[in-house]
């Protein structure tokens, strides 16, 4: 069968494609480079949510808490401790992971709406606190005066954003590899089991709470990393990094691109930004309508998100051919 012999090379090409695009964009984007950086940061954020929500089934909409904490940590580190962006990034990851560990330990025994509410309460508390703590966070005006040292003493952050872009791309790639590894490991499989049927997993001896805590912490670290990138790329941290809505938007990106599809975040974030950019030109508020409609359509008709179009098409072809052979 001719299809099978090109399957492998096709898969490899499929994997290389997103990264080729990332590289290609760098050389062709000109003034839109920072737009690409922003998309990549959101891809990372959405990926972090996919691990917790998509794969492990932890019903959370409070991930902006980790993103925001990571952003403020990176910014404050640069102002008060050291302008080295890499050190600040590590500090941000550590702080976000710590927050994830602590809050996860407190809430992960709950499920459903209670869990959802607890995550919302956490991000609300942190967000409101940041609003009040003007001295620390700059409140409404945001954290000003972040001056980052060049990475490795050589690569300077400047208005053209080249350093920021490459830096973001590399960080994204590293986290992608980590996420990939996790998802295909026994650990990742057990998370899938926990999502589908936690009782079943307990009945085979899985320490469910510990596994959930582990992935929640990793996911928090990843989100914190995205926040740090956001702070570094723009040299600014505003209250919007803690916006509850961000978690919702990340979830939107995931559903658009496909939950539990390793490149779902890539597709979803890109589509979201492209649609937003395009529809915002038509009318500033029309994009909400369009995005909402796309979201609803995706949930209703395309179970696996737009990345599932491939599967949908394949099944349609099989039906047309009169049924595939049974495995």
């Amino acid at each position: 069968m001719p299809l099978k012999s090109i399957a492998r090379p096709l898969a490899l090409a499929g994997h290389a494609l997103p990264w080729l695009i990332v590289i290609g964009y760098f050389f062709t984007a000109d003034y839109y480079l920072s737009f690409g950086t922003e998309i990549m940061i959101w891809i990372l954020f959405a990926m972090s949510l996919d691990l917790a929500l998509g794969y492990a089934g932890i019903l959370t909409l409070g991930h902006a808490a980790f993103f925001g904490v990571g952003a403020y940590a990176a910014g404050l580190f640069a102002i008060h401790v050291s302008p080295d962006p890499l050190l600040g990034h590590l500090a941000a990851i550590a702080l976000a992971a710590l927050l994830g560990l602590m809050t996860g330990a407190m809430i992960l025994h709950t499920t459903g709406v209670t869990l959802l509410m607890l995550t919302l309460a956490i991000v609300s508390v942190i967000s409101q606190y940041a609003n009040q703590a003007n001295d620390l966070t700059g409140g409404d005006n945001g954290l000003q005066g972040i001056k980052l040292a060049p990475i490795f003493g050589r690569f300077e952050f400047n208005l053209f954003g080249q350093t920021a872009y490459v830096y973001t791309a590399i960080v994204l790639f590293i986290w992608f590899l980590i996420a990939w590894r996790i998802v295909h490991s026994p650990f990742g499989r057990s998370l899938g089991g926990i999502r589908q049927n936690p009782r079943r997993m307990r009945a085979i001896g899985t320490p469910v709470w510990w596994r959930l805590l582990a992935i929640y912490t990793i996911s928090a670290a990843m989100a914190g990393s995205a926040g740090a990138l956001s702070a570094d790329a723009t040299s600014f941290v505003g209250l919007s990094v803690l916006d509850l809505l961000s978690s919702g938007i990340a979830a939107v990106m995931l559903i658009l691109g496909g939950v539990r599809r390793i490149y779902g975040a890539f597709v979803g974030a890109t589509i979201y930004f492209v649609v937003q950019d395009y529809t915002a030109k038509i009318s500033p508020f029309f994009w909400e309508f369009v995005v909402g409609g796309m979201l609803m359509a995706t949930v209703l008709f395309l179970e696996g998100g737009l990345m599932d179009l491939g599967n949908v098409a394949r099944r349609a072809v099989e039906r047309w051919r009169g049924g595939a052979d049974d495995a």
Binding site: S185, P186, G192, R202, A203, I204, W210
Partner: protein, 251 residues
């Protein structure tokens, strides 16, 4: 020389407010035992299994395995000590294949289900063992199929296969034949006969056919209390049991 029981229950009690679901239940399961737990609906049979496996905490009483009291342990910890169960309603992972369902259990048992690095060889081993387990249950051919497409009888077999792959000392089967269409039931019967001799097995069943073919001892539970226990012949002749099952054919 008397061997020690694989699991020993003394005085197990549990109530939900005014509703008493377990009253001073005593039970010993020797290695290799084949004990059936029967009783009318609502007698507390599944509750008893939940108490044994840790999904419910008893108000009073002890459960002992290998000299250790396990009644305060979480379900996953009891599994590690060799206690496994099947469920009355299938709790299979529908999105995974048949073989993966078993392999995940094997990985858990072997202790590397938490691994995210250096796992390829071990996972391969899990899959191989899973395949062997499936062959044992005569469902090896279905290994790569998603669970959702499996006939119900084979799903029940898979449920048992998963429990067996945990290499338990004590196995609790909660109505293994429940919901299986009559023409597939013999498959379950055969699988039950092939269960390893060393495992102590407690089976909850309504299907008296299975009970009388399979059990060496029968325990009758009524309203959370052990009414009587004994060999099958004695139980079927017992007038008390007959009265409880009024209207039902016992033999």
């Amino acid at each position: 020389m008397t061997a020690a029981p694989a699991i020993s229950v003394r005085g197990l009690c549990k109530s939900f407010g005014a509703l008493v679901v377990a009253q001073a239940i005593d039970l010993d399961l020797m290695p290799g035992a084949r004990v059936a737990l029967i009783g009318p609906n609502g007698a507390g049979k599944t509750t008893f299994v939940n108490l044994l496996t840790g999904f419910l905490r008893p108000d009073l009483g002890t459960i002992e395995m290998q000299g250790e009291n396990i009644e305060r342990l979480a379900p996953e910890d009891r599994v590690r000590r060799g206690l496994a169960r099947t469920h009355q309603i299938n709790t299979l992972l529908l999105e995974n294949t048949v073989r993966e369902n078993v392999a995940i259990a094997v990985a858990e048992r072997e202790g590397f289900a938490w691994r995210a690095l250096r796992f390829a060889r071990q996972w391969r081993a899990c899959l191989d063992e899973a395949q062997a387990q499936l062959e044992q249950m005569d469902i090896g051919a279905a290994a790569e199929r998603p669970v959702a497409g499996l006939p119900y009888g084979q799903q029940r077999l898979l449920e048992i296969a998963i429990a067996l792959s945990l290499k338990p000392r004590v196995l609790l089967l909660d109505e293994p034949a429940a919901g299986v269409p009559a023409h597939e039931a013999h498959v379950i019967h055969e699988a039950l006969n092939r269960l390893p001799d060393s495992i102590a097995i407690l089976i909850i069943e309504h299907d008296m056919d299975i009970v009388f073919r399979f059990a060496q001892e029968i325990v009758v539970l009524v309203q959370g209390r052990v009414l009587t226990r004994g060999v099958p012949a004695a139980i079927s002749a017992d007038p008390q049991v007959r009265a409880v099952y009024l209207g039902k054919t016992v033999v």
